[in-house]
Every structure is written in C-alpha cells, then in structure tokens.
C-alpha cells in the first residue's frame, strides 16, 4: 500500500502484523491528511475480519419517556415534567409498538424522576411475554446507574432482575465522551462517569449480557479526548470481553447548537476508521445511518464499518434532535446503502447470529 502521508507507513506495518496500536498512533491517525490512506488500512482490517459482509437488523426503538432529571447540554430530547412535548408511555403502549416481524427492540429513555425500578422490570416482562421471539436490548449504563442513584438498586441486582425478565443485551449509550472536562462543560456530571460506565458494562458482561459502546463526537471535544475514549473502551474490553459493537455517534446540531454544523463526512469517516483500528478487540464497528445520513453511512462501509444498524421503525431521540434521515427506511433502502458499496447484506439478530445472507 502506498500512502500520501508517510506517517501511515509504520502504522500500516503494525496493522499488517496484527500489533496493537498506541495512543500516539491513534493521534497520528486523526491528524494525517491522507483520508483514503487511513481508510484503506481500516478497510483491510474490516475485510480481514468480515470479508464483504455488512450486517443489519430488523429493529425498532422504544423510548419509554422523554422525562429526564438530567440536563445534558448536547440533548435535544429530554423534557421536564409539564414541559411542552413531554410524554410517558404505558407498558401497554410499548407492548403494542413492537411488531411480530421485529427482531430486536432497543429500549432507551430519559431518567424518569418517579418511575420505580419495578416499572422497568414489568416493561421488559410484558414485552418479552407478548413477543417471546423479539430480542430485547435495553437500558444504557447511565440508566442502570440511575436506578442505583434513585432507588439504591445495585447494578448487579438490577441487571440480574432485568435479565430474568427477558433483557438480552444492553445498548452502548450514555458514554458520551469519557472526559471530566467535558462532563463539567456539557453538564453531564450527574451521569455515570467513565469508571462507573465501564464498571456497569463489566458487570453486564460477567452476567452474560452482551453490550455495545458509543462515543458522541463532533461537538467540542478534542481529538485526544476521542483517542482516550477509544482506549478506555479497549481496556475494558480486554478485562470483560462482552462488547459486541462500537457505535460512533455524530453529534446532531439542530436544537442544541453546541457547534454550528454537524461534523463533515470526512470527519465521520475518519472517526470510524480510527475506531476500527484502535478497537482491535471489538468484533464490529457500526456506521449508524440515522446520525450519519445514508450517503456517508454507505461510504463508511469502505472505511472499516461492517454494520449499518437497522430498519428502525421509530427513532425518536435522534429525530427530535434534528437528524434528517427518514425514520424507518425499509430493508430495501438498507440493501441499497450496502450494495452500492459493493458489499453483501447480512441480516442478523441482536447478538449477531446470522438470520439470512441476502446475496
């Protein structure tokens, strides 16, 4: 491989030899001008792991409430009680939102001021008993931490009870950026801090619950903060091993305006590529089309991503924050994103078991 920026050469040598990249390497990867050189290295790793396969799932999001005790500066979704647009779903509503063809339901919501833990437990039980074939991926580490803050339920107990109720895996949200500086600046100090977030994922992994991890980028964080975030996740994965997918989340500017514009596609492609290279112990890297837009998500399949998330019949959080992509793209549109990149769509379940290869 030839590179327009020679700083990529020693990194390429390491990647070829399957050597772990350093923090310095991570910073270099974010700094080089040679976007396509970086992408080729990440694509090499993706192809070595997954060939031309790109995964998707028939899924929907259920967002129980937007009431939230927090006031994170990047969030356009949360509401206070009595505020315009505030809502709370009943368990019956949520059971009805899940359709039989849904394979995975993703449940994430605000930190409700009053709902007892048992409400969440009953929610999972009800959805599971009404739809036993639907896999339930529910509650970020931030929500699990909140159950402790609010109700003094230890994460291990909370996760054990939720698992018994039917929870199968956990989403990766609430990580934001692992940075004390940004937690203060963006007012998310009231949320699980990096150690706590990782601790809870470690507990989940020990209980046999697979989880995802995210990073909210493209606002006021530094590139070094991104690198440190990725390395913290890599370290946790070395310890507990239960992460399945890393999902970089491009910050949506429409309502909160921490920055004037969404970060450009080249930055998202770069972030996906660096993630693929630094997170050598993560099975999958996702190009989440809702935040990236379909064009960039499709191109990202050449930059190390091997997953586009899913059909998402309802994606409330990103849409209230202003994501412009149409909610609920049909399977055909996912095919289009994947096939335009010359890749093979592989329908999966929540745990990455292959449902069907759409040759």
């Amino acid at each position: 491989m030839r590179f327009a920026d020679s700083r990529l050469e020693p990194i390429w040598d390491k990647v070829r030899m399957k050597e772990r990249l350093s923090r310095e390497d991570g910073l270099t990867l974010f700094e080089v001008d040679d976007l396509l050189g970086l992408g080729q290295i990440a694509d090499h790793v993706k192809s070595r792991r997954e060939g031309d396969r790109v995964y998707f799932v028939i899924n929907r999001h259920v967002t129980p409430t937007n009431l939230c005790v927090l006031s994170c500066a990047f969030c356009g979704f949360a509401r206070k009680p009595g505020q315009d647009g505030a809502y709370e779903h009943t368990i019956e509503d949520m059971v009805a939102m899940v359709k039989e063809e849904t394979r995975e339901v993703h449940i994430v919501g605000g930190h409700h001021p009053e709902w007892p833990f048992e409400y969440y437990e009953r929610m999972i039980q009800a959805i599971h008993s009404a739809h036993p074939d639907v896999q339930i991926k529910a509650f970020t580490a931030a929500e699990i931490d909140y159950f402790w803050r609010r109700w003094k339920i230890e994460p291990k107990d909370a996760l054990s009870r939720l698992k018994a109720a039917g929870l199968q895996s956990m989403p990766g949200g609430g990580a934001e950026i692992f940075s004390a500086r940004l937690a203060r600046l963006l007012k998310y100090t009231g949320k699980a801090d990096p150690d706590r977030w990782c601790e809870i994922h470690g507990i989940a992994h020990a209980l046999g619950i697979k989880t995802n991890a995210t990073m909210l980028y493209g606002h006021v964080e530094t590139l070094a903060e991104r690198v440190d975030h990725l390395l913290r996740l890599r370290e946790q994965q070395d310890t507990s091993g239960g992460f399945v997918t890393f999902v970089p989340l491009a910050y949506q500017t429409a309502t909160t305006k921490l920055v004037a514009r969404q970060t450009p596609p080249a930055d998202s492609l770069r972030t996906i590529a660096v993630s693929r290279l630094l997170l050598d112990n993560f099975p999958h890297i996702e190009a989440y089309w809702v935040t990236l837009g379909e064009e960039t998500a499709s191109i990202a399949l050449h930059f190390g991503a091997d997953d586009v998330n899913g059909t998402l019949e309802d994606e409330r959080i990103q849409h209230l924050s202003g994501a412009k992509t149409p909610a609920g793209v049909a399977r055909e549109q996912l095919f289009r994103m994947i096939r335009d990149a010359g890749k093979i769509p592989v329908e999966r379940d929540a745990l990455y078991n292959v449902v069907k290869v759409w040759a």
Binding site: M1, R2, A4, D33, D34, L35, L36, G37, G39, Q40, D43, R261, P264, P265, A266, L269, G293, E294, E295, T296, S298, I299, L301, H302, F303, R336, M337, D340, A341, G342
Partner: protein
C-alpha cells in the same frame, strides 16, 4: 512518484477501474493525479444559475421528467424579455455564469436564440452566456434549415464563447438508441463539440449514468471525449451525475438512482482515464452535499455552481439548494481552499 499514472489508461485498465479496483485505492490514485495537475489544495466553484427558456420538446427522452409535448397544458415558453429577466435576477445575485438550456421547441426562430446571447452580452457584461447544448444547436439548425456549423458561427458572432456539455447522456449508440432515440447517436453530440472547439469555443463534457448502460458503454464515452480532447483541448471539465428516475418514462424499469460509492468510482475512474481534462466536477447538486465533499478526496477539483435556479432535477423530485457561504464552508470543512471561478475556470477570488 508513481509510474502507474504515467501511461495512458487503456480500456482493459479502465474496466478494472470501473469494476473491481478497491474503491479507496482508486480514489487515492485519482487524488494523486488531481494533485499532480493542481498541486494547490484549491477547490473552485462558480456563481451561476440554470434557468430554462422552454419545456416544450419533441424529442421524448425516456430519462427526462422536465419536458412537455407541444400543446400540452403544462407546456410553456418564455419570451426573450422573460429570459433576460432571469439573467438579470441571476446577475443581481452575483452570478458570472448563466447556463441556459431548454427543450427542443420547433416554434422558436433562430433570432430568438441569437437575441438572447447578444442581449445578455450587451446588458450583463459580467455574465458569461453559457447557453444551449449540442442537441439544441441541432434543433436551431433544423428549424432554420442551415448547417449546425452555421449556427455555431452565428452564436460566436453574437458573443457566445462557451457551450454546456449536457445532452451527452452516455455516448454509446446502443444506450442513446434506447433512452434518447430521437436525439441521434453519439456523433450528433460529438460533432457539435468538435466543430465548436475548432472555432475556439470551450465546453464541458457530461455523463449521465445509472440507467441501461454497461461498463463498455461508459468506456466508449470516456474514449470518445478523450479522443476529441486530444484534437483541440476545448473541454474545460468533465461532469458526471447519476440518472434520477422520478417522473420519467424510465422509472418503470429503473426505480432507484445509483448511490455515492458508484458515483465516487465513476468520478475517480474518469479523473484517471480522462488524463487530458483539466477539471473534474464534484456534483453536490445531483449527488448530495456529503458525497460532494467526499468527492474532493476522489480526484474532483471543482464544486460546480450555486445553481440559483434549476428545474430539470426538480422535475424528477430531486432538489438541493445552496448558498455561496455554504459552498465556502463545505469546501473548507473538506480540507480545501475555496476559490470562485468564471465559466472558463479563471480564478475570480480566493476565500
């Protein structure tokens, strides 16, 4: 630095580029070729508008959602004054190029066209009249009963110096017979550009892919325009875009347009294959702004224009709008220096 791009790319290599070279490797090679020709990290754009003078057309192209047959309730034709009002509106917003095209309307006399060029030159000296594609020039010749070369001479005398490259579609006999049977074969487009270049006109070459063409058809297109460029060097830029099926006759067979990866492949392959073309345009308008930004890493060195008015893609329900400020921001975000240019790619202002 590389011997790979030194020799002219032949069809076998071109096929390889268009089909199975890894996309980012192709892009990196195209980017290298772009920087070999234009070492500065400058990306140019033009302030322009694309109004139309008529939607009346007798050519019935299968890919077109814009035209109406003569006598149709939705058919319209603008007077000379109405067109000039559009030129004035564009000029008042800072446009230096007006790309004027229309249907093939047999009711319009030659004087209509010549007056538009003359009056634009006289009244709006800052605007380059980038008027009339090859097939419109053929229509003028047929209606007036003269040779198309006479039309070129008359347009030149009226003050026209550049010709837009639309209407090429894919320069393949088979493809044009299928999607634009009344427009003539590749030669009808090519001969206008050849004779125009011979007279000193500059023009662009376009390509609309993503319908019934094969890789061989695309290679025919590349070979055709590269060959002509060897003769006179009159092409300023190559501009590919994907066919948009909305509201067209072809929509019955082709439901969706090709996506960003296909576009980047075509664009990068063109940059390498069309080694005698100075500029390759990233078509933010037809492919989306995100893809346009990424295309700047795949060999494109031009952002196209502001397109204050555009009706042809709009008729296919594909709409994008942009301002000069946004263009400047988008080019900068992609890591390049924006520069405003003229129709003939002279730099007006570096941002």
């Amino acid at each position: 630095m590389s011997t790979l791009t030194a020799a002219r790319i032949d069809r076998a290599e071109g096929r390889h580029l268009l089909t199975d070279v890894p996309l980012l490797e192709l892009g990196a090679r195209a980017s290298e070729a772009r920087f070999a020709r234009w070492p500065e990290r400058t990306v140019t754009f033009v302030i322009d508008s694309n109004p139309n003078y008529t939607n009346v057309c007798v050519t019935d192209c299968q890919f077109c959602a814009f035209y109406r047959k003569p006598g149709d309730r939705e058919a319209w034709t603008l007077s000379v004054d109405e067109v000039l009002a559009k030129v004035e509106s564009a000029a008042s917003k800072g446009a230096t190029t007006v790309l004027l095209q229309g249907g093939h309307n047999p009711a319009l006399p030659l004087d209509y066209y010549l007056t538009l060029v003359r009056e634009t030159r006289a009244r709006f000296p800052q605007v380059t009249p980038h008027f009339f594609t090859a097939s419109e020039i053929h229509t003028m010749a047929q209606v007036a009963g003269v040779r198309f070369t006479d039309i070129l001479d008359r347009l030149w005398d009226a003050g026209q110096r550049t010709i837009p490259g639309g209407g090429a579609e894919v320069l393949s006999t088979r493809v044009r017979a299928r999607i634009a049977p009344k427009k003539g074969g590749p030669e009808s487009w090519l001969e206008v550009h050849r004779e125009a270049h011979r007279r000193g006109f500059k023009s662009t070459a376009t390509m609309m892919y993503g319908h019934v063409e094969t890789v061989d058809d695309l290679l025919d297109h590349f070979d055709t325009i590269r060959g002509l460029q060897d003769e006179f060097g009159g092409f300023t830029a190559f501009v590919p875009w994907s066919f948009k099926p909305g509201n067209t006759l072809l929509e019955k067979w082709i439901k969706q347009y090709k996506g960003p990866n296909t576009y980047l492949r075509v664009l990068a392959a063109a940059r390498l294959y069309l080694d005698n073309f100075p500029h390759v345009q990233a078509s933010w308008f037809s492919e989306g702004k995100a893809t346009g930004q990424v295309a700047l890493h795949f060999g494109a060195d031009d952002w196209g224009g502001t397109l204050f008015e555009e009706n042809v893609h709009r008729a296919a329900e594909y709409v994008n709008t942009i301002s000069v400020d946004e263009i400047v921001t988008l080019i900068r975000e992609a890591g390049f220096t924006p520069a405003q240019r003229t129709t003939e790619y002279e730099i007006v202002r570096v941002y």
